[in-house]
Symmetry: C2
Subunit: 231 residues, 2 copies
């Protein structure tokens, strides 16, 4: 085996790993969008589809882990390439959690569909879902293009999702206080909103991973989070 | 460098990595226990201590990751040793999440302390906290001793924590319906109970990681989870 041959095989493995992470990202995005639609349109078929597709994400995560570890052990990448391999490993862990959270939202869609809809809150959840989905999309584009500016933009705007969450939290508590019959649905919607906020946190984690991967240094400064105790 | 020397250095590095994970586990256990006490005893000083100590767990996780990746790249462990190294990496990720969840419980202790206590729920949270802490302790002991039986026992008993969670969830909803003034505190206690359940899930994840590490095969069968839609 010539030196050139080894290098080419190595680059191909690293490219394949990156492509697999992007594919996993696409699936996680679809899970999120469908889970939010299952809530807002009270669509039980969509909810069931999200729940059953989650296993696929778990499988891809295991496959990425297996490939990344093999690459590190056999090719002993250094600097840039090592950072890219570890980034793939860590991003896949974050995407797997996004899938879990979307699955949990879909499960709650099944329960909520049994009660009367709380239309204004549903609209707030829809807007929050769109915001989180756009952040996840942006950060996955940033990963594919190694675009540090786009990754940083996601990182800087994390607090916007927190603001939406705070507002949904307060809105739900108001409904619960005004009409005890909404308490059961509202409790589930509290968790739906929290799960969306956490998917947003994972997008921000991924932005930090990309920053480190591309520049070799950690993001400096605190995450611009809303750290209100109301939540 | 003689062959024997290399092997010894390698074993030492692997032992040091394992010890670091155990140390991290001890810290995560303390965070959990103190966070639950901050809630049940309405102790704000303890809550603040939990919040400020969380950063330490993040640092240890980064350090374990750095060491594990270096070990894989430089020593190219195979079979048993590779599995042990990857297990250290993955367990540290789970412990870091446990710390985050404990920190979140502590933050909610600060908010809840501003309202009147709901004593019966507090007792239920206390019992649930003790159960989760004992699972985390068991699984960390299982990791240190590579004790597959003890790890499997934690895995098999995951549903007990779910049952506690379901019962606390229903209890809280009952209080909210009976007295709207408890809604704000109860909403926070819902998340406290959920966070405890999630720490229990991480203990079960760790049990699965140990199973794979020691036996080289994945746990077969579904996790004996309560998958009720009530949650």
């Amino acid at each position: 085996m010539t030196m050139e041959h080894t290098v080419r095989a190595y680059d191909e493995e690293l490219d394949a790993l990156t492509a697999e992470v992007s594919r996993m990202g696409g699936l996680a995005e679809a899970e999120l969008t469908d889970a939010v639609q299952a809530i807002t349109r009270r669509n039980l078929t969509l909810a069931q589809a999200v729940i059953s597709r989650d296993e696929r994400l778990d499988e891809i995560e295991s496959e990425i882990e297996r490939r990344a570890i093999r690459l590190i052990a056999l090719r002993q990448p250094v600097a840039d390439d090592l950072r890219r391999t570890v980034a793939a490993l860590k991003i896949s862990t974050n995407l797997e959690r996004c899938g879990d959270l979307a699955k949990n939202i879909a499960k709650r869609a099944l329960v909520i569909a049994e009660s009367d809809p709380i239309t204004p809150v549903t609209r707030s959840i829809e807007r929050m879902g769109e915001l989180v989905a756009s952040r996840l999309k942006d950060v996955l584009d940033a990963f594919a293009a190694r675009d540090i500016e786009r990754a940083n933009a996601v990182w800087r705007r994390d607090h916007e999702i927190d603001e939406h969450y705070d507002s949904v939290f307060r809105e739900l508590l108001t409904y619960m206080m005004a009409d005890p019959r909404t308490i059961n649905s509202s409790a589930h919607l509290l968790f739906v909103a929290k799960n969306l906020e956490r998917i947003g946190d994972h997008a921000t984690n991924i932005a930090e991973i990309i920053h480190y991967e591309v520049l070799g240094e950690h993001v400096t400064g605190r995450r611009p989070k809303l750290d209100s105790l109301e939540r």
